[in-house]
């Protein structure tokens, strides 16, 4: 709760500080996020349930908030180079990112469908602007327009879905401990159930758009590619986390009332895996490849949600932790290389390991984690999801979704092909680009190194991490 307020204040202060002196914007935003991260510890020990049934800050939601605040801290703290495209407006970029982060925090803790809608809007509207914040760049403008047109449409569908659910059940409240929870209501007889199902499906589709799950993924590659690297990194990590958590809170809390969504959701998960992986195979641009790979990662996460049991939440956290941290390393590395060579292609990375072995090594570790190779956390994230789905499948009467695990497993083999292209480019290809890539600032290297260390060490501490979620 207090973390949310802290971030909001930081955003406003950053805006004004930027008017005085652009140089101060980054330190102020970083400091604010660091304070917010500290406040998360307080929030964690003081769960807070809003009396007006809007927000419910649980242990789980605080941990997810902590994760996204940490990501924001890293992104903004290391953004000296990546934000340079914005010139004097960098304070605005930071403020918009912080506002968007507020939306993410609301999505982790909503207990009311209205707050879900508000959270989605607070998350998205700054993003539409951010995607176009590289004003002189045509691709960035295109990205913004595409994102806005399709995003606005998806939000409309989400809102329509909420209206239908409310119409059928007479309540907005989900989750939390209140008696007027949707699941405690009798649906109106007659068309009530159909209406409710329609609403659930429309909400599901609207949110699937936000996490770029197939078949609602068409915007993502262009938007990711056109947006500035900093914004792409923000979308691939924080927005993805917020979307997945929001969709899982909604579906899992109505889960036992309505099971019809399970199969549709499973098919969407399978499609995301297949579409994401196969589209990534033949891309020339590393950034586009990451965009498609993030679609397939949404597929793995959705596979976890299909078990329709809140027990999956800690597993989602672990997967998201592994996925977002390795994405951060790759995005920051890519931004540095692409910024100095002027292109996002794989060829820009050729021979990087000869010049900058440490940086190439860190990116390789992140890539191996993304690809799901043990002993890195990426593997354990996937494994825990597979394990939960199998467990659930062996207990459920209809057999569950074990076949989807096979699809996911085969897809993780296919993904090796494109994940390793960057490793091949960095380590085994002779350099072709003439532009000299200078070495990264020491601070960035240290932070990226720490992230890679965390990727290695997280599996060792998975048990206490799971414990935190349930405590």
């Amino acid at each position: 709760m207090i973390a949310l307020v802290t971030i909001l204040l930081t955003a406003i202060i950053t805006l004004f500080v930027n008017l005085v002196n652009t140089k101060w914007a980054r330190p102020v935003a970083t400091l604010g996020l660091a304070v917010a991260l500290g406040v998360c510890f307080y929030d964690y020990s003081n769960p807070y349930e809003d009396t007006s049934e809007m927000l419910y800050f649980t242990h789980a939601s605080t941990i997810f908030s902590g994760l996204t605040i940490l990501i924001g801290l890293i992104l903004i703290g290391l953004s000296e180079y990546s934000v340079s495209y914005a010139g004097k407006n960098r304070g605005d970029v930071y403020a918009l990112m912080l506002f968007s982060l507020c939306g993410a925090l609301i999505l982790f803790s909503y207990s009311n469908l209205l707050m879900l809608f508000l959270g989605v809007e607070i998350l998205s509207i700054p993003l539409y602007v951010l995607a176009g914040s590289d004003k002189e760049n045509l691709a960035s403008n295109e990205s913004s327009l595409k994102y806005f047109l399709q995003g606005a449409f998806a939000t409309g569908i989400l809102l329509f879905g909420i209206a239908l659910v409310y119409g059928a059940s007479g309540s907005f409240v989900i989750g939390g401990s209140k008696a007027n929870n949707i699941i405690n209501y009798q649906l109106y007889s007659g068309g009530g159930l159909t209406m409710f199902n329609m609403g659930v499906f429309m909400m599901m589709f609207g949110m699937a758009f936000k996490i770029a799950a197939a078949p609602f993924h068409f915007w993502s590659a262009d938007v990711y590619e056109g947006a500035p690297d900093l914004v792409t990194a923000f979308m691939a990590t924080i927005v993805k986390t917020a979307g997945i958590v929001a969709i899982s809170i909604f579906l899992l809390s109505i889960g036992f009332l309505n099971k019809q969504w399970e199969m549709t959701f499973a098919i969407m998960a399978g499609l995301s895996l297949i579409v994401g992986n196969f589209s990534a195979l033949k891309q020339m641009s590393f950034k586009r490849t990451l965009a498609y790979s993030s679609i397939s990662h949404a597929g793995y996460l959705m596979l976890g949600i299909t078990i329709n049991d809140p027990i999956i939440i800690p597993t989602l956290l672990f997967y998201l932790l592994a996925y977002t941290l390795s994405t951060l390393v790759l995005m920051i590395g890519m931004n540095w290389v692409a910024g100095h060579t002027g292109k996002h292609d794989f060829t820009a990375f050729n021979g990087l390991a000869k010049k900058h072995p440490v940086m190439a090594g860190l990116m390789a570790v992140a890539m191996l984690s993304m690809a799901g190779l043990p002993p890195l956390s990426g593997f354990f994230g996937k494994y825990f999801i597979f394990d939960e789905v199998f467990k659930h499948s062996s207990m459920s009467k209809d057999g569950g979704f074990w076949w989807l695990v096979i699809v996911a497993a085969v897809n993780s083999v296919i993904s090796i092909y494109y994940y390793f292209r960057i490793i091949i480019a960095m380590f085994f290809s002779p350099a072709v680009s003439e532009e000299e890539v200078p070495s990264m600032p020491r601070l960035n290297m240290v932070v990226l190194g720490l992230i890679c260390l965390a990727l290695l060490a997280a599996p060792l501490f998975a048990t206490p991490l799971y414990g935190l979620m349930f405590y």
Partner: protein, 484 residues
């Protein structure tokens, strides 16, 4: 535990040194590991019991424990690994990459992972080490490889990863019928009440992973290219130790499923193994590239070892284990020999070589000893292993035994052809490039020759190490109650 930590520690140290210091450190590390292994073996009671080294809580909610332990079979494999590593460091000594801290660090990381595979007593831990071993060897092959390395090594990686992921699914299936609290412990898996139709799929997953690693016909297509393209040190790691992971996996992790699956599966696999023997041998005869020749010969030899394991008899598995050690020694030796020739003559084409024996008789003698070991001439190590293997295969199925017996004849044909073309015949003008062996080469090859003769003359201590473990294992498997 130290056996994993020592190589890991020295692999990390490689970040801070360069040049010769790196090589010396790596050699020292591998020798310490070897010494540690020998002391472990001498401390082992030889009674077939499993000794746990570490047993810790790890991922409690998922039923995963960090358990390392050993019995005679594991000790034998660890011995092979830690014996091979110093030789591999020596074999790379005079190459450029032998001075590269990156190469040495990766080789040591590989050593740690391999030892982990052989010691793991928990399914997921086994899987983690199994995959971990893949990363360093991929980098070694692709960084110092020859022509077309990117394509070939990526194919190798994806192919083996493809197999392993099905092993993971097999493990998940198997575990869901075991004990609920600590489901991946090997003992709990062995005693699980898995229905036979599920066991069939789990076994298929394991068999696919192991068959690709061996490689068993028809999953071998990655092998010759990868062996040929990898640097000598990488090829030695691949053929000498890494494929033993697959064989070891069959013995320890796949055989417990066989009672549930039924014997038919074993017959199918034996037939595949025997096809591999004949197929590999015939192709090896036609090869002119020495490295590809030995690669195909390795496929034939491994086919025989696998056929021995599939008999599920005490003799078959005992023979397989000793032959795994032997094959490790001779394969590493032969690739060493090829590398010695290649570095001096800048070619490994048989047609371009001739009469090296006239220039370097010492080298020729050592090569001949290794070749004899591989051909299984009596009094060499190969004879001890292959004789028992052939007997066990023959006992279980006479037809297959006879066909498998061809391996010895074929092997003599292609290896003697290799020796004849390269070592004997008139000395050609190129041979003045053949400088005398350096100390590292002499020491490495000499040690291997010593082991060829030692195991050939006195195999009893090696059999003794594993005998009780294998018989315990087999009686455990026979006591498994099958769900109807």
């Amino acid at each position: 535990m130290e056996l994993i930590l020592i190589p890991l520690f020295f692999a990390a140290v490689q970040f801070f040194v360069k040049g010769r210091t790196a090589s010396w450190l790596a050699l020292a590390s591998t020798l310490v590991s070897l010494g540690w292994t020998i002391s472990m073996i001498s401390g082992y009671a030889m009674d077939g019991s499993t000794v746990n080294i570490v047993d810790m809580e790890w991922l409690k909610f998922a039923g995963i424990r960090f358990t390392l332990g050993y019995d005679g079979i594991s000790l034998m494999m660890v011995l092979l690994t830690n014996l091979a590593l110093p030789i591999i460091v020596l074999a790379s000594w005079d190459r450029n990459y032998g001075k590269s801290p990156l190469y040495l660090g990766l080789a040591l990381l590989m050593q740690a992972a391999l030892v982990g595979v052989f010691l793991a007593q928990d399914g997921i831990l086994f899987y983690v080490f199994w995959e971990l071993a893949l990363i360093p060897i991929y980098f070694i092959s692709a960084l110092w490889g020859g022509e077309n390395k990117n394509r070939i090594t990526l194919k190798f990686f994806i192919y083996t990863f493809f197999g392993s992921i099905f092993m993971l699914i097999g493990l998940l299936l198997w575990k869901s019928y075991g004990s609920s609290t600590n489901g991946f412990a090997w003992m709990s898996l062995v005693q699980s009440q898995i229905p036979s139709n599920i066991a069939f799929w789990a076994f298929l997953g394991f068999a696919l992973a192991f068959a690709i690693k061996l490689p068993l016909f028809p999953f071998h297509t990655w092998q010759p290219d990868t062996y040929a393209v990898a640097p000598a040190g990488g090829t030695m790691l691949l053929s000498g130790i890494m494929l033993k992971m697959g064989l070891f996996g069959f013995i320890k992790w796949a055989l417990p499923l066989v009672p549930h699956v039924g014997e038919n599966m074993m017959h199918l696999l034996s037939v595949l193994a025997v096809i591999g023997i004949v197929y590999g041998s015939i192709i090896a005869i036609k090869q002119n590239d020495m490295k590809r020749l030995v690669a195909f010969s390795s496929m034939a030899h491994v086919g025989l070892i696998a056929a021995g394991i599939f008999t599920q008899s005490l003799e078959g598995i005992q023979g397989a284990i000793i032959q795994m050690l032997n094959h490790g020694i001779t394969a590493i030796g032969l690739f060493f020999v090829i590398d010695v020739i290649e570095r001096r003559m800048e070619t490994r084409e048989l047609t371009l070589l001739s009469g090296i024996a006239k220039v370097s008789p010492v080298f020729a003698v050592m090569t001949l000893i290794l070749v004899m070991g591989s051909v299984a001439v009596p009094l060499t190590n190969g004879f001890v292993g292959e004789f028992i293997l052939l007997k066990s295969v023959f006992d279980s199925n006479a037809t297959l035994g006879v066909i498998a017996g061809l391996t010895i004849i074929f092997c003599a044909v292609y290896l003697l052809r290799m020796v004849q073309f390269s070592l004997f015949g008139p000395s050609n003008a190129q041979n003045k490039k053949f400088t005398p062996l350096t100390w590292a080469e002499g020491l490495g090859l000499g040690t291997l020759c010593f082991f060829v003769l030692w195991i050939g003359l006195n195999p009893d201590p090696f059999f003794g190490l594993t005998e009780r473990s294998v018989s315990n294992l087999l009686s455990l498997f026979n006591s498994i109650k099958v769900q109807p």
